[in-house]
């Protein structure tokens, strides 16, 4: 499959690869996907006192689109407030990376990873988890 230059760029030079300390109270971790499905994405955010995401890291097992989607997600997360981050839609990722239709799944996974990381952060800080739409796939 011919990928867009942006996918190849993120795949070749992934941004923000790594691990944050998930034990820390201001770190939220989202782990989505399953090895059997060929995609596992782990996305982490570090949040400051003003509810702003100061750092984001990812590790992904998956195809080029999955890696690119999570890499892009970490770029977008940094500097956003939790509320702004909650609004990232998978179709924004599809558009930015020009993902082909069979790869939309990867962007859905990235959106889910973002929301799952935010909810992990919320729960850790005594907030209600935000009810997520039941999976769209």
């Amino acid at each position: 499959m011919a990928y867009s230059e942006k996918v190849i760029d993120h795949y070749t030079n992934p941004r923000n690869v790594g691990t944050l300390d998930k034990a820390k109270k201001n770190v939220g971790t989202g782990l989505v996907g399953a090895p059997e499905c060929g995609d596992v994405m782990r996305l982490q955010i570090e949040v400051d006192d003003n509810n702003v995401i100061t750092d984001a890291k990812f590790k992904t097992f998956g195809c080029g689109s999955a890696i690119a989607s999570s890499s892009l997600a970490t770029e977008w997360l940094k500097g956003k407030s939790i509320d702004q981050a909650m609004e990232i839609d998978n179709m924004d990722i599809v558009e930015e990376l020009a993902l082909p239709p069979v790869k939309i799944h990867c962007s859905v996974l990235a959106e889910d990873a973002i929301k799952s990381a935010i909810n992990d952060y919320r729960v850790k800080n005594g907030l209600e988890p935000i009810q997520l739409e039941k999976s769209h796939h």
Partner: protein, 403 residues
């Protein structure tokens, strides 16, 4: 060394220039229809086809009258299964095949089921080979055909063909083999192997695409198949349609070259394959799929745990290989062949098939080793599963969010 490097010779092979040279006159000067019996243009074409028929027969130890030219192995397999079923269905409606067969065999079998046939799909052992006892136990008095491939396209394992044919003979059942991956790579002999019908094709042995053959035994027993394509009654009525003369000439030439060079070539390729395999399996958590004793000399199917096959292929961008992961399909299902070996989905998603060929050099293999190791290490650095494995976390203990 020219990039990218082609290591997908199980999918198709480049044409040998000697084959192309043999074919060229038959497009222009010698363009006659082999069925034109009344003028020299037709005679020239017919003579070329006869010669190619001998060449194609020889590589499998058959006689030229037993070769039916087709458009390729897919058509040959369709003709063998459907043609035998239609011809012998009064005798019985049961056929036996294997879950790891090529799609065209499995889909032909499904078609036969729709026509009222009964099909047994034998499982394979974890090494990809069939259980001979199970095969024999599956035969009923309604069984008319056993269709089992000679060598598998994904993992290269070679089935115990002689033992299979002995069982078939003992029960008076015909034996068809899809030998697409085997012919030209290892010695195949329809008599020594006891084969009644055999499919093969040009483009897997450095010949042209679009030309293959079905071997149909003429003696002990005399096998008949019902034509699937009707028309002018070409190929002794079993496959109508104007013969693809240049393709057939090329196919014949490709068989002749493969036969001459097989002995030395298979040793050379096995040496290169082993070098590649030894080097890449030095990486941790790396497994070779399928039986490593009985397999084609040029194929290696390797699972690199904790990295995903398609992502891996992307990182190996100067290598043309194939992945057992089906991430590109809507279903996201990994290879059914690898799953049939009992591989977990995660390992099946993590596999790469290396298929070496006549034009593969040692320099290219060295490069492939370097690229593969680098890519696997790069992706493992990116892989949360690898990190968990390294931390000693049991991945089975995690409740994965299914997608």
């Amino acid at each position: 060394m020219k990039l990218p490097i082609y290591l997908d010779n199980n999918a198709t092979t480049p044409m040998d220039p000697r084959v192309l040279e043999a074919m060229l006159p038959y497009f222009t000067d010698k363009f006659g229809n082999a069925a034109s019996r009344n003028h020299p243009f037709g005679w020239v074409a017919e003579e070329a086809v006869d010669y190619a028929r001998e060449q194609a027969a020889k590589i499998i130890g058959a006689t030229e009258k037993e070769i039916i030219f087709t458009s390729g192995a897919t058509e040959s397999n369709n003709l063998a299964l459907k043609g035998v079923f239609e011809m012998y269905k009064d005798k019985g409606n049961h056929i036996i095949t294997v879950v790891t067969e090529h799609k065209c065999v499995l889909d032909s079998a499904h078609h036969i089921e729709k026509l009222g046939g009964q099909v047994t799909y034998l499982p394979v052992k974890p090494d990809g080979l069939i259980d001979l006892q199970l095969l024999e136990d599956s035969i009923t008095d309604k069984t008319i055909l056993i269709s089992i491939m000679y060598a598998n396209n994904e993992i290269g394992v070679i089935q115990p063909v002689k033992e299979i044919s002995a069982i078939a003979r003992k029960h008076g059942v015909l034996f068809h083999t899809d030998a697409t991956q085997a012919v030209g790579k290892i010695p195949v002999d329809v008599n020594a192997d006891g084969i009644d019908l055999l499919s093969f094709t040009g483009h897997k042995l450095y010949g042209p695409k679009g030309c293959g053959a079905l071997y149909v035994r003429r003696k002990n027993p005399r096998v008949k198949v019902t034509a699937q394509i009707d028309g002018g009654g070409h190929e002794r009525g079993m496959r109508s349609g104007t013969l693809n003369v240049p393709g057939i000439v090329g196919f014949g030439k490709a068989c002749e070259i493969a036969m001459q060079e097989m002995a030395t070539e298979s040793v050379r390729l096995a040496t290169l394959r082993d070098k590649l395999e030894k080097a890449v399996t030095e990486l941790e958590e790396t497994y070779v799929n399928g039986n490593t004793e009985n397999r084609l000399p040029h194929v290696s199917n390797v699972s690199f745990k904790y990295v995903e096959g398609e992502g891996l292929m992307m990182a190996m961008k100067d290598l043309a290989v194939s992945s057992g992961s089906a991430c590109t399909s809507a279903s996201l299902e990994p290879s059914y062949v690898l799953k049939s070996l009992g591989l977990n989905d995660d390992l099946a998603h993590s596999s790469i098939r290396f298929g070496l060929g006549r034009f593969t050099t040692e320099e290219e293999v060295d490069y492939a080793i370097e690229v593969t190791k680098k890519a696997v290490n790069h992706l493992r650095d990116l892989s949360p599963l690898w990190e968990m494995f390294k931390e000693g976390i049991d991945l089975n203990s995690i409740e994965w969010a299914e997608h």
